[in-house]
């Protein structure tokens, strides 16, 4: 019941917000959106408090027939892996609603409705245990995001939205074929846990691997199918950049743990070298590209790709440090990238430019903001005692166990990540006041302070005491690793 509530409360609230109509009712729309988001977050809390750490399987399971002719079920459940993404998504939704409170002035109801509906759909993706249900949610999330970028985005929004849509749609069509194949192969079941035990010859696994790979790699995004992300981010309004970076990118990575690794373990092992290579390219190549960006959002977008490289790297190391590190990195990246995009949003709302060159010396007029952004920048560099360190640390530990050179390539992010993040920080925040407009900047208001404060608390809490995060994962991660280690051919 809890998972259904987590999915449908935001969606219903979103429809209610939509029903408030045009902008004369904007205050009502905002209030309703906040109530919906908060309720949506509250119902996810019992998922954590009631979670049985000793049970590696799926919990809070709901199962009902949906399309009985094809054995399709409304089948929900979370394990120690997906649990975190439901929580993260519900949390970020609250932040996005607060962050967009007074920034969005046109078509307020539609804006908040789109976010709430998307939030519910995303919870659906993370808790679906039926492949068709998963696919429907997975695809449906495209629509609100497409609308948000296309309607509230920047000047080049149409190009970005279409590129985003087509890129990801292309990937998921291949996944649909793979899903249909697995349905037939399994004797007519769409149940994802059933597929985990499905014997498949290596050749078939390899073909299916690529079917899934396109869908998930585009979402992550992995090099070289990443070029939609910087465009989408730069054109997207702040709120959708936050959701895009914090949650939507996680769908691809989540797909790898839910489908690719346990269903196609032999192909995963065979092709691990490819995945590791692509991940390392993401870390190094994209890190270098991030260094030379002139647009803050584009820089953070590239930084996101580079950080997600650690996630895919961790998964394909096939050890607990790697996988748990990757999962922790996903959660942390949810906080940190959300925070950084919000920081850029704070500046953009005041100056209406994302160009680094238009700033300089912001600390003189916005000291509070500068402190927050410093914290998030440091988390982005993976400084210990911030959440950014934990995942990178574990993945590097896991990589060393496999091969020291992989670890060395991955650890280059210690230098590269610090270079692009702090160089941007230096040019935007430090220095003397660069121009008249910077001189007139006002520091954070209460609403911004609240949003950034919550994220700062999350970043620090996870950095100082990450134990509760991984404690919940162990059972499910070990179960996953057991499946990966099991030959299926």
């Amino acid at each position: 019941m809890l998972l259904s509530l987590a999915i449908w409360i935001p969606i219903v609230a979103g429809l209610a917000v939509l029903a408030t109509g045009d902008d004369r009712n904007a205050p009502l729309a905002r209030t309703l959106a906040l109530v919906g988001a908060l309720l949506g977050f509250l119902v996810t809390i019992p998922l954590y408090t009631g979670f049985d750490v000793g049970d590696p399987g799926f919990q809070f399971v709901e199962k009902a027939a949906w399309i009985p002719q094809f054995n399709i079920h409304y089948h929900l459940g979370v394990d120690g892996i997906s649990l975190w993404f439901v929580l993260l998504n519900a949390f970020v939704t609250v932040l996005v609603v607060i962050a967009g409170w007074s920034v969005i002035e046109a078509r307020v109801a539609q804006y908040f409705a789109a976010f709430l509906v998307m939030s519910g759909l995303l919870n659906g993706v993370f808790s679906a245990l039926d492949a068709v249900l998963f696919y429907v949610f997975f695809e449906a999330t495209l629509i609100p995001m497409f609308i948000i970028i296309g309607v509230w985005g920047g000047p080049n929004r149409v190009y970005a939205a279409v590129k985003f849509f087509l890129y990801t749609l292309f990937g998921s069509l291949l996944m649909l074929v793979a899903l249909l194949y697995l349905y037939n192969k399994s004797g007519g079941s769409f149940s994802i846990p059933d597929w985990w035990n499905l014997p498949l010859p290596l050749g078939t696994q390899m073909v299916l691997f690529f079917g899934f790979l396109f869908a998930f790699a585009i979402k992550v995004p992995m090099w070289p199918v990443h070029t939609w992300l910087p465009d989408a981010h730069t054109e997207a309004p702040t709120g959708s950049s936050v959701v895009l970076a914090a949650i939507l990118l996680k769908l691809g990575a989540y797909g790898f743990v839910r489908f690719t690794l346990p269903i196609l373990p032999d192909a995963s092992r065979e092709l691990a070298w490819l995945m590791i290579a692509l991940s390392l390219v993401a870390v190094v190549y994209i890190g270098l590209v991030a260094l030379v960006q002139t647009d803050m959002k584009r820089l953070i977008a590239y930084s996101s790709i580079s950080h997600m490289g650690f996630v895919t790297l961790g998964f394909f190391l096939f050890n607990a440090w790697g996988v748990e590190g990757a999962l922790v990195q996903m959660i942390s990246h949810g906080f940190v990238s959300a925070a950084l995009f919000l920081c850029v949003g704070v500046l953009y709302d005041r100056m209406h430019t994302r160009m680094i060159a238009d700033y300089g010396g912001v600390v003189n007029t916005m000291p509070k903001f500068a402190s927050f952004m410093m914290l998030f920048a440091l988390a982005n560099c993976g400084l210990p005692a911030t959440s950014g360190f934990v995942g990178e640390f574990l993945v590097i530990m896991g990589a060393t166990k496999v091969n020291g050179w992989i670890a060395a390539a991955a650890a280059s992010t210690l230098v590269l990540g610090a270079a692009y993040t702090l160089w941007m920080y230096k040019r935007v925040i430090f220095g003397a006041v660069a121009n008249e407009r910077v001189a007139r900047l006002k520091d954070l208001n209460a609403r911004e302070l609240l949003v950034l404060g919550l994220l700062a608390a999350a970043v620090l809490a996870m950095g100082v005491y990450p134990l509760p995060f991984t404690e919940v994962m162990h059972g499910s991660v070990n179960e996953l690793l057991r499946h990966v280690a099991l030959p299926k051919t």
């Binding site: 192969k185 190549y285 530990m397 230096k426």
Partner: protein, 643 residues
Amino acid sequence: MSMKTLYLVVPLAPLAGAIVAGLFGRAIGRAGAHRVTIAGVAVSFVASLAVFADVLAGNTFDGSVYTWLASGGVRFEVGFLIDRLSALMMVVVTFVSLMVHIYTIGYMAEDPGYQRFFAYIALFTFAMLMLVMANNFVQLFFGWEAVGLVSYLLIGFWYKRPSAIHANLKAFLVNRVGDFGFLLGIALVLAYFGTLQYRPVFDQAPALAASGALPITAICLLLFVGAMGKSAQFPLHVWLPDSMEGPTPISALIHAATMVTAGIFMVARMSPLYELSTTALAVVMAIGAITALSMGLVALTQYDIKRVIAYSTLSQLGYMTAALGASGYAAAIFHLMTHAFFKAVLFLAAGSVIIALHHEQDMRRMGGLRRHMPITYATLLVGAIASAGIPPFSGFFSKDAIIETIRHATVPGAAFAYFCVLACVFVTAAYTFRMVFLAFHGEPRFDPQHPPHESPAVVTVPLVLLAVPAVASGWWIGSLVFGDWFGASLVVRPEHANVAQLAAEYRGLVAFVVHGLAAPPFWLAVAGIATAYYLYRVRPELPKRLAQRLGVLYALVERKYGFDELYALVFAAGARAVGAGLWKGGDERAIDGVLVNGAARVVGWAAGVVRLVQNGLLSWYAFMMILGVAAVYAIVKYRVFAP
């Protein structure tokens, strides 16, 4: 209060001060900020003394505070290892920090960032204490990075200055290069030992070394890369001179007395590992020796008073590192301690001059200051004599212990290292007294309209308090270095027992001094002072002519051997060029240009074909849709894909 609570108080008291001063700085005001942070550090100092007494009584502690993270069957703890090594470091760190805190009241009195500064230095004290008290590698790395962070914040403290925010980025990135190696070293430790707690790692290390020297050597060398970054060893030394952009109290605390000694401390702490790899020891010794001599030479050519002291720091850190390579861990830690005192004196005295001259740092615009600032002069002179290594000042003892240890060392390259450290004694004395003579003697070259005044008591009292150990801490050599004071906290294998050989010859403090008076280092130091006197007091026109005669050679040293330019070209500009190439050539031209837009063109062409079927008739669309659904249905129903 139990001892464990006391251990917790040591790092947490400064942290609490930092948090209060940092978050509520405006509310509590300037006085409130310095009171709360000084109180925190003072509590920490007193608690450290109590811990020190307890350790002297024979108690040690190795236990965890809480489990930070668990994964893959390994628990990563936050915990403390309290033994003689960490207890000594705690006392030195908190004492110097306390003096610097008090001094800062005077030095930063006019600065608008007063509260922020106190928050930072208290936070730094916390980080450094976490580093030295750690009983595991994760916490060590936390402290390691945290001191680097605070150093970054403090070098860029005056964030409006372009030079400051350039220097702090550079410092952070160079440190990160070191940390890159350090983290990989830690990862190798975990891979080979399955734990990151010091104790089991040290216990298992000999067995691992017995099965092959390569892993231990790799671990030691990678960890040492971290030490090279933090302790600014050649060729990762480039950040330290630039770090002088920060306010002077920070130069004294972080860039002389504490953070930069983290690398030295770390290698000493890891002595059970380093002892197992002769290769690693030889590398450590060579790097230290090169750093000592090459950086000392640069100090001879600088005119910025803080930079002279900064290069002196680099050189002295080289001494400590070389001593580590000779398995003289006790001697290295001993020099770390005496250096912390005399270098803090030198820096804080220089700061006193800088403030008195309204932020003038160029020694060519000083001169004759001793008449105007007698206390500053006296304390700086104490620091200079100690630094030059004249008995009975502290530096004499610690430096002599290092030189003698290296003389006895047998690892490859020991003769080279011995030459470097010996030659460096002359250089050290020369640059130190060059500074004394240039700044404090001779004709005044500052603006006579604004003669300097002696600094207030908040500045001079810490100077005097630090000058006392700068003189006297060396007298501890008998027990600290030769008396096996560190006991089990430092491990030296019998074949590397160079210090023990010295200890056998040790006949008490007076005999040591008398013996020292007849040894080459002392006379080299005297010669260095005499040379500085001749060049800067007797024939002051000579240095310029000498510099001209030496030509390119002098220019090379003065330009710090060109490392800044090299790194700026290869790494900073190189990385940007590669990044730009990958962006424009890779992302935009290859991926978007060929793949994505190419695909779009194919689609566009296909659309031309498809347009034939898109005839705008609704019924036609409906028909196609039904066909599509039927196709999916057929796939599902008849298991088209089934083999």
